[in-house]
């Protein structure tokens, strides 16, 4: 197990290094320099600015500084807003994004599992078809369309929820739903197929023949094992929630990290794009890593196979 964790950790760091290096060199390739504006800067000021941000150094020194900066949790300055650093943006935006993300995650997991279990228990009957139609729709409707749709119906037409902004718990409902829709659909499908597989196992027959009630068999015996694929999906799920929130925050005008990211893209604020990308990558990779480790701990069968193949 330790060997497995070490190996995964190594690959995580490698992936991180690749993406940070790639962002660094891509941003150097980007057209224009950070101080390009309508007014031409006097050369002395430009030289001063370059010196202040370390841009007068050779590229390898800049690269090294950047790597060291990220390793010490410093994601660099913003060139468009002189007084702001990427760390400021993260500190102000990430808590909001995190709240939204966790809310969406809870909705996705609870409703997804509910739908999936219902579908499996009523296999090939109408609740099954109903849940799977919802699931296919959830997968086919991109989050930003879902968001505008919800906004149009529930906020503009029915006026049940506020249209946008981030002020009260009521404000969080629509964005969280929009963000949760497609992961919920995936979880529903995943749960359904793994429930169907589990329900055909011998130990379920044993439980039934011992005279346990249908609900006891489902809750105590089936769901616990059927949850394993769902647990392994939590890593990619957190990824889709985080990247999905970029566009959702934009639509609902939520002051989260996603909005800052979009703003920096629209302003072509390269250092902020770089910094937030690096931050997102770290969060995502750590999530996937933790989920995989947790998965190995939950399911003892995985450990053996994992160690044997060394994967």
């Amino acid at each position: 197990m330790l060997k497995y964790i070490g190996r995964r950790l190594l690959f995580m760091l490698l992936s991180l290094w690749v993406i940070i290096t790639a962002t660094f060199f891509l941003m150097r390739m980007a057209p224009g320099n950070p101080f390009t504006s309508e007014k031409k800067l006097p050369p002395e000021i430009e030289a001063n600015l370059n010196a202040f941000y370390g841009l007068d150094q050779p590229w390898y020194a800049q690269y090294w500084d950047y790597l060291v900066g990220i390793a010490s949790w410093d994601f660099g300055p913003s060139f468009k807003y002189k007084s702001q650093t990427v760390n400021d943006l993260i500190n102000s935006g990430f808590p909001v994004s995190l709240t939204l993300g966790i809310e969406a995650l809870l909705i996705a997991v609870s409703f997804g599992v509910l739908l999936g279990v219902t579908a499996a228990l009523f296999h090939n009957k109408w609740p099954d078809y109903g849940s799977m139609v919802i699931a296919v729709l959830g997968i086919s409707v991109p989050s930003f369309i879902m968001a505008t749709l919800l906004q149009y119906i529930f906020a503009m037409q029915l006026k049940i929820f506020p249209v946008a902004l981030w002020e009260s718990p009521m404000h969080t409902v629509l964005p969280a739903l929009a963000l949760a829709a497609s992961p919920m659909a995936y979880i529903a499908r995943l749960t359904r197929s793994s429930m169907l597989e589990v329900m055909s196992n011998d130990y379920i027959k044993t439980a039934k023949s011992k005279g346990l009630s249908r609900s006891a068999v489902t809750v105590k015996h089936a769901i616990r094992n059927a949850m394993l694929p769902v647990v392994s999906y939590l890593g990619p799920l957190s990824a889709s929630v985080i990247t999905g929130s970029v566009v959702i925050e934009q639509i609902f005008g939520i002051p989260g990290l996603g909005s800052h990211f979009v703003t920096s893209i629209q302003n072509r604020d390269y250092t902020v794009i770089m910094g937030i990308t690096a931050f997102y990558s770290i969060i995502l990779l750590v999530c996937v890593f933790l989920v995989d480790i947790a998965y190995g701990l939950i399911d003892p069968r995985i450990k053996l196979a994992g160690e044997k193949k060394g994967e």
Binding site: A30, V136, F144
Partner: protein, 307 residues
Amino acid sequence: MDTDQLRKEDFELVGVKIEETEKISKPSLSFWKDAMYRFRKNKLAMLGVLLLALLIFMAIFGPYMSGYDYRTNDLTSKNLPPSAEHWFGTDELGRDVFTRTWEGARISIFIGLAAALIDLTIGVLWGGIAGYKGGRLDEVMMRTADVLYGIPYLLVVILLMVVLGQSVGTMILAMTITGWVNMARIVRGQILLLKNQEYVLASRTLGATTPRIMARHLIPNAMGPILVTMTLTIPTAIFTEAFLSFLGLGLNPPLASWGTMASDGLPALRFYPWRLLFPATFICLTIFAFNVIGDGLRDALDPRLRK
């Protein structure tokens, strides 16, 4: 049936004809015929095929139907609701939304297909070579793939679009630069399963070269999972295009893609909902069609599900 009605004649021996016990009464079905049969019985998947056929038909002929050009502005008729003149209404520059929608269909489907084909080519080559050669080469190739696999897909795409500029070509490049890894892993897994089969050994004994074994034996037998993965890559690519355009990283005007149309329509949602409604509906329908076709193919091709 009532027992009184049973007569002795009903139990006469009909006789066994030896030659007929060996007769195969059902026509023999190849794997693909069998899979196609099961695919055709899947109603949802057939609905997807029908939808897709319609969408492709409209993508080819739609832009010529209404008699409007997708890029001609007409400021005297802007933001018109759907009518007999403009079937899907017009946008803020008076362009015909119907024509633009099908122009967008061309771009979306083209991007989807191109991304899937490039992923397929790189993935099959990479995964095929790694799986077949094995050993150290496999280790190096698959570890590279693992590292790339860890990199968040959408972030890479966003980053590349910011730097490389916005065009159909850069979009496809951005999507495929890490997109092929998934295909490579699946192909490798299949090749590892297949390469020790007797028919591969037989072929090699007969002197077949490695490329021939790959092309004639391994890849065709791994076609099922490859096809499914490819079908499911297309909706991802279409989604990514729409997502990027929505972020303002998509194609530049006057090009019409569903994502840019939806993004332009969003601020006007309250007053001119059709400008968002039409492209959004077709994005969903296309993704839906590819998803159900992919699911149908997987169910039809997966031997474990066969009864």
